[in-house]
């Protein structure tokens, strides 16, 4: 009896390649979980929004001047939220990109070695602060002391200009809660992401590129501007898109400072909604089937948008990494 069980365990051991077959199957199955999760998220949003998709069609997301979002009459159009998300993210990117580029240049090229680590570390801490804490600080400190004066200044400066003025039409609400406030908070939140990835892109650029530029007489800035930035451009673009993806999906801080109103105005200085903030605000209270399906469709649009952007960003960053290793291998 004992002998046969021993030989059985030996047979089993060999059959399973000493357990490696089990290990392989385990790794394979679990690894499938990640792509399956993404498909599952997309699929669930797709079927759960079917009613709203059938009823409203493309009109749900196309730009309209007088979009309706009315749970009482069952009319839903998502354009104000799409617009809110796009404009706040765009402005956040416009603020964040030059700053992040400056930080990345400073960290990778200029600052002394002993300072690099603490600075990178503080940048990571900035990214680690929870979104709700940003929101709380935003409501009680950032809005009254920074956004309000800055917004009033912008209205006075740019308001009278013909077309551009539409985006800076005042007055800013007394609390400061507006799309501008959301954009500025978003900028602070995505700067660490963009700066860190861009710094890594700079650090990955071969030293020979810098030496060649100095050898033909560039100043350090000319070397950075004419050699490093063009060389790392696709990586930097990837970093920016990564930041954009984060800005599109950011929920809590934006919900707390954007003022949450469905305004007809296109102005940056008026309160608004973003796709994520309308979901956060209304989904828990949506009793009507069509209302919650419309909110899920908003989620679907958000998901597809971030999916596309992240894929693009990853593709660009990977390309830079691959080119970097090829160059190193050649030199």
């Amino acid at each position: 009896m004992k002998v046969s069980s021993l030989s059985f365990s030996k047979w089993l051991d060999q059959r399973l390649n000493h357990g490696d077959r089990v290990w392989n199957v385990l790794m394979l199955t679990l690894s499938l979980v990640v792509p399956v999760l993404i498909i599952l998220i997309g699929w669930q949003l797709w079927i759960d929004s079917s009613g709203a998709r059938e009823k409203f069609g493309w009109a749900f997301l196309l730009p309209t001047a007088d979009a309706a979002w009315n749970p009482v009459f069952g009319k839903f159009q998502a354009w104000p939220f799409i617009y809110g998300t796009l404009i706040t993210s765009a402005v956040a990117i416009i603020i964040a990109v030059p700053v992040s580029l400056g930080i990345a240049i400073f960290l990778a090229e200029l600052c002394p070695a002993w300072l690099r680590e603490p600075l990178s570390w503080m940048l990571e801490l900035l990214a680690a602060i929870p979104s709700v804490v940003y929101g709380l600080w935003g409501i009680f400190v950032f809005l009254p002391f920074v956004v309000k004066p800055f917004g009033d200044f912008l209205t006075a400066l740019l308001g009278p200009i013909p077309v551009l003025g539409l985006f800076f039409e005042g007055p800013l609400p007394a609390s400061g809660a507006s799309r501008l406030a959301a954009s500025m908070i978003l900028a602070i939140m995505i700067i660490p992401t963009i700066a860190a990835v861009t710094r890594d892109v700079f650090l990955a650029i071969p030293q020979a590129q810098r030496e060649a530029s100095f050898a033909i007489g560039s100043t350090q800035w000319e070397m950075i501007w004419q050699v490093l930035i063009p060389y790392g451009l696709s990586g930097i673009l990837g970093a920016v898109i990564l930041g954009l993806g984060r800005a599109l999906g950011e929920t809590m801080a934006v919900t707390m400072v954007i003022g949450n109103s469905i305004a007809g105005s296109v102005s940056l200085l008026s309160p608004g909604y973003t796709m994520s903030s309308i979901i956060a605000n209304e989904f828990a209270e949506a009793v009507d089937q069509l209302h919650s399906e419309s909110l899920i469709e908003v989620g679907l649009i958000l998901f597809v948008l971030t999916l596309l952007l992240n894929s693009l960003a990853r593709f660009l960053v990977w390309q830079v990494a691959r080119r970097g290793t090829e160059q190193d291998a050649r030199s």
Binding site: G19, V34, G102, L119, L125, T219, G249
Partner: protein, 309 residues
């Protein structure tokens, strides 16, 4: 000789201009770095200043008082955060580590490429969308909000963070360690789990800690999954006298609060004592997150110098 010097003299003013541009732009990069770090100190300083005024022992040991009544604490939310974090870590950590082995050691198979790509994509999915799906997949079929549903939503957010960092750490383990183990006849799973994983353990734990710090501040995926529950009290559940497993089930299977969720709700209320309490919640939450970050960094640093020496 003159042919070399003359253009230099002619271009001297242009050269000066180039040098000035250089100086201005390089100074600007330093200036924006300071500007970007300003909010960090502003936020931390202000939260400590405001939160410090309203935090006390009652605040972390008592349940909330009714609206408009002074005092009371956020014990329910601290318990909730603890349970949610632990539960999501238990759900996310074991599969993430095994997935990381696949990503690190089979990177160029078709599934390896798909896996690494989809890990990146998953880390970019907005947390509010994960909350929506958690609602649809767990809350709706069960018919009630629960801490378990929230833990699953948070675990999905932890997954890519832990996979990514673990993968990087596994790749750093010297290959001859792995080869040595395989040459001695150890099976691959044995090599992976008892040679490579211990060698990378410090980095893996770091990644896990950072992942926990990151998700413990998440609010959006919890709004429609754990909902919030001002009466959540583990002490009472345990005193209920059910059997061990029934008690565990009761702890995870009901709506609960968490610190970020409480902060969000309190900050929007018109009652000043609730708003004051939200600053104290922010302080507790921020200290928790920053403490994990700082400890982990210092630890990496001390280990880094140790390895070099």
């Amino acid at each position: 000789m003159t042919t070399v010097i003359t253009p230099y003299i002619q271009n001297r003013s242009r050269f000066t201009a180039r040098r000035i541009t250089n100086a201005i732009m390089l100074t600007l990069t330093g200036a924006v770095t300071l500007l970007a770090l300003l909010p960090l100190f502003w936020i931390i300083g202000y939260v400590i200043f405001k939160g410090g005024q309203y935090i006390n022992l009652d605040f972390i040991t008592q349940m909330p008082k009714p609206l408009g009544v002074q005092g009371g604490g956020v014990l329910h939310a601290m318990q909730g955060t603890l349970i949610l974090t632990m539960l999501s870590a238990i759900i996310a950590i074991p599969p993430s580590i095994i997935i990381a082995f696949y990503a690190a050691f089979r990177p160029n198979t078709l599934l390896g490429i798909v896996l690494r790509f989809s890990t990146d994509v998953l880390s970019g999915v907005p947390s509010i969308v994960i909350g929506l799906v958690g609602y649809a997949l767990i809350v709706k079929p069960q018919g009630h909000y629960s801490g378990l549903a929230g833990s699953f939503a948070i675990a999905v957010m932890m997954l890519p963070i832990i996979i990514r960092t673990t993968e990087e750490m596994l790749k750093l383990v010297p290959n001859n360690l792995r080869e040595g183990s395989l040459a001695l006849g150890a099976a691959e799973w044995k090599t992976s789990l008892s040679v490579i994983l211990p060698a990378a353990a410090n980095g893996v734990i770091t990644g896990i800690m950072l992942g926990i710090a990151r998700v413990s501040g998440e609010t959006a995926p919890l709004i429609f999954t754990t909902l919030g529950n001002e009466r959540y009290n583990i002490g009472q559940i345990v005193q209920g006298g059910d059997s061990f497993f029934q008690t565990l089930y009761n702890i995870v299977e009901q709506p609960m609060d968490s610190l970020p969720l409480t902060l969000w709700k309190y900050a929007q209320q018109p009652f000043p004592e609730r708003v004051n309490q939200s600053w104290a919640v922010a302080l507790v939450l921020m200290l928790f997150v920053l403490a994990i970050n700082i400890v982990v960094r210092l630890w990496i640093r001390s280990r880094g110098t140790h390895l070099k020496g």
